[in-house]
Symmetry: C2
Subunit: 258 residues, 2 copies
């Protein structure tokens, strides 16, 4: 994931890339930027060094897009589900804007093909992700290792369109079709961690969670009194480890207590 070498910077063909971005606007976004440099910025990986603007990366626009997307999805769910409890609305919104959901959007519509700065390691992460989600057609509820930058660039593109248009309605028109299928109360699955916490509250079990940082992995262990009821060890993503440990604990309880 290291920075580009000087050669790679010099090799960057601005004109060709600008034509690529026009293709992306036309074929995927169906939105024409007033300021194409915003779209360019939205698709620059932090490891890439732009010859004229070395500080540029998608991160600032991602920060804006995160909030824009949150509000757009909130508005939509608020008016679609008038009888939904506030708790369900929150879970529904979370599932529709979480990293896995957004990374699915990027992977499906090939956002990464227009990025600058993707290394072989990142390309491999995309392929692994694309393979892993085949098991879960809508959402894995936290069991798949999601390359965060794929989610980030959906947010940064949303941020770029918002800064370019200054109009929530414009952004929604562009992004709404890309978010399909929007997760509904019917297709929403509960995260294993949430299910475990609800289960333990209902049964009045006092669970103990222990997180160890090992060499380059994280281990989460869940204890009931002194009995280990679930554990998982994973690489990069702490939340995936937690969800896998919770899944294991749920299996344990369902096998021994129901």
């Amino acid at each position: 994931m290291g920075a580009m070498t000087e050669d790679e910077v010099v090799d960057f063909d601005e004109e060709a890339h600008s034509a690529n971005l026009e293709e992306f606007e036309r074929e995927h976004l169906r939105y024409k930027f007033e300021k194409q440099e915003l779209l360019l910025e939205a698709l620059i990986h932090p490891s890439f060094r732009h010859p004229r603007m070395p500080q540029l990366s998608y991160e600032r626009l991602e920060h804006v897009g995160d909030s824009v997307l949150n509000l757009l999805v909130t508005r939509e769910l608020y008016s679609l589900y008038r009888d939904c409890s506030p708790g369900s609305l929150t879970r529904l919104r979370a599932a529709n804007v979480d990293n896995e959901k957004l990374a699915r959007v990027a992977a499906k519509h090939g956002f990464h093909r227009y990025m600058l700065g993707l290394t072989p390691v990142l390309h491999q992460q995309i392929r692994d992700f694309q393979e892993a989600i085949l098991e879960y057609p809508v959402h894995s509820s936290g069991l798949v290792d999601t390359p965060k930058f794929l989610a980030d660039i959906v947010e940064s593109v949303v941020g770029a369109i918002y800064v370019d248009s200054n109009s929530l309605e414009t952004v929604w028109k562009v992004i709404r079709p890309l978010l399909e299928p929007i997760i509904s109360p019917e297709t929403l699955k509960v995260h294993p961690m949430t299910e475990l916490l609800e289960w333990s509250q209902k049964k009045k079990l006092k669970l103990k969670f222990v997180t160890d940082s090992l060499e380059d992995k994280t281990r989460v262990s869940i204890f009931l009194d002194e009995t280990l009821v679930g554990t998982a060890t994973c690489g990069r993503r702490r939340d995936v480890v937690k969800n896998k440990a919770a899944t294991a604990a749920l299996h344990y309880f369902k096998a021994t207590m129901v």
Copy 2:
């Protein structure tokens, strides 16, 4: 925090309350609602039973307002601090919209005085909070026990104004002055938990966090190898316990390792 008795429901004087809300609009918000029932809804505690609308509480509007506020503050910080790193922008936004910051807004401008459904226990929580923040003029960075409903009603009022006006600009005009003082890079303090994690990464320490649920309290203990380096036990709020344990661990490390 129990539900109101039937007597209390019958006692509720809609006309007088409507006059109260007009005072709130005039004196604090300087915004006149098209649909005053939205403001009414935004200020109903979940434990209150409205005689005609027993399901009403601030929670749905809070959910909307949370997103609206997030975007407004994001936009503002994005344009104010053009040279700020994305990480600093995220921390700055978090501090400006977190529960403690918003509860301060509510307490300062007396939002709770216009609420329906406040019990003596909740009133006591407000007084405790008002006293606790005297120690920290701008923000305690997670060391004060914040009554969440105070933050919630700022969000629900924001949500109500947004639904009523359908205009981000209108909401911003109302809420911007109430958010003063906006936390800037200069006044932003780092949360103890963040500082501890950064410290342990820099020094390559492998910390173990153990969370126990006791009777009606939570205990967080932090270990370095088998040595307990920090611990805290608190009542309601898990994040306050964590921050207090982290503060203790930081004291330990700074006393023994620098």
